[in-house]
Symmetry: C2
Subunit: 285 residues, 2 copies
């Protein structure tokens, strides 16, 4: 049971976590904190949080669980603002889509690594953002990856794990580096490909017409290009190295396909497409 949960950034992810925990009845009080009073008031009006404050120090007072659910680029600033004010028994976690950069931001923001810090990332989301997009079942049966550090207090790790389980998620742990590589491949790269495709088409002449003939497959394929541009800029900057690595491999693969088309090499194309369909059907049944 969480006594007082403080959420920095009551948007899609922070708001959904609060709703899930309130629905589960495992949290006595939720305090929201961010930059905009109107966003926080909206969160309170929607029944997402119990109360709010614009003052980070005030926000963490008495909190035994603090969740950083702000954009990646804002993590460090929040940590600086609450430095020296966390309760001694407080667990601290985040939901950022890349982990090495958050670990770095927390270390810099606090001037040292807080022992109660458990880096985390729920593998769940939609292409919408803001508290109005939050819903209590967002994490149901979705994975949450925790990437505990050598310094991480085991009690804090257990409490953060329990929190996500109570929100309906399946919790796994792995290293920071491994998380960033896997997510670069399965989430960050696909988003870049979709943004790139839509931008490419949008810059062609007759774009109205081009999009008019986009069929069902195109809609699904490009849905993730409706995601928040600021969040994805932050992800690119935060997970630069792993993204560039996987992007390089992808561009090589695309080059292989392009050369096969140029050469009219149907056998190679068939082999690539069959291998891809086989993997897709096997892993995403």
């Amino acid at each position: 049971m969480i006594r007082r949960l403080t959420i920095f950034g009551v948007g899609l992810i922070g708001g959904s976590l609060s709703l899930a925990l309130r629905a589960a009845g495992t949290c006595q009080e939720v305090v929201g904190c961010s930059r905009s009073e109107s966003h926080l008031r909206e969160a309170k009006d929607l029944g997402v949080i119990d109360r709010y404050t614009l003052d980070p120090v005030e926000a963490v007072k008495g909190a035994d669980m603090v969740v950083l659910a702000v954009p990646l680029g804002a993590m460090r600033g929040v940590c600086e603002a609450i430095r020296g004010h966390l309760e001694p028994d407080a667990s601290l976690t985040d939901v950022g889509s890349a982990k090495a950069s958050v670990v770095e931001a927390v270390r810099e923001g606090f001037g040292e690594m807080p022992l109660g810090f458990v880096p985390g990332h729920p593998i769940a989301g939609t292409e919408k953002s803001g508290v109005s997009a939050a819903f209590p079942t967002l994490f149901h049966e979705r994975r949450v990856i925790l990437t505990p550090l050598e310094t991480t207090d085991l009690g804090a790790l257990a409490r953060v794990r329990t929190m996500w389980e109570e929100a309906g998620a399946v919790v796994e742990t792995m290293s920071v580096e491994h998380h960033d590589e896997v997510l670069a491949a399965t989430s960050h790269l696909p988003h870049l490909l979709a943004f790139g495709l839509v931008d490419s088409l949008a810059r062609m002449g007759e774009r109205e017409e081009i999009f008019r003939y986009a069929a069902g497959g195109f809609r699904d394929f490009t849905r993730i290009a409706s995601s928040d541009p600021v969040m994805w800029r932050d992800v690119c900057l935060a997970n630069q190295e792993a993204i560039l690595k996987v992007m390089g491999r992808y561009q090589e693969d695309l080059g292989m396909i392009t050369r096969a088309i140029e050469a009219g090499d149907g056998d190679s194309l068939l082999e690539i497409f069959q291998r891809a369909k086989g993997a897709r059907d096997r892993f995403c049944p």
Copy 2:
């Protein structure tokens, strides 16, 4: 009203067209023809066609509407087989995903361009194939593009248009070249990107794990990589030029994104992502 409709290739598209026209009650008899008797028997058992034959000449006897719904690579062979046997009043159309190559195949297969030939392409489909995947509402409110030639008989054009409208579709016409460019951008390229991504990931180490962390966006994004590899090999070979053109532009765009990530240039990334999201939200609401 169609007296006798002959469909070559009673799979997803050919089968769905037959089901739609039978549901609309605008077709007296549907004859199926392809290579495999067991596929044709299945089509008859499923109530998709009235009867079938493995003999192309027999199949077109008495038919006033002939639809080529075989893979792109098989169009020419079917035309050769029925050369000289079409009824004088027969309209001929196809459903191929690329049009210049079908026009060429028909010309070569018949030794001249049949005046009743109306090239066509329904912008509808799923990632499944075969007659068991066919359903009567596949074309409801979906676009069908007809690309009539200078030689095309206007009566045939009107009959093919009416057929698709009775199947529930919205019919438009454009030139062969324009069709192939637009579809390269909105359909062929996205399929290649999805096949390429899944193949790229499948060839990485620990692929079981990689796919395990693929979230909702990834599933939607890669659904089209479950499409029929043979069909997509054929599309690549059939629409080589337009695909290479749009692929080149896309690879330039991806290079731009890659360089911005390398340079840590958040402003450029934000600009690209915002432009893409704006276009996606506007054109695919």
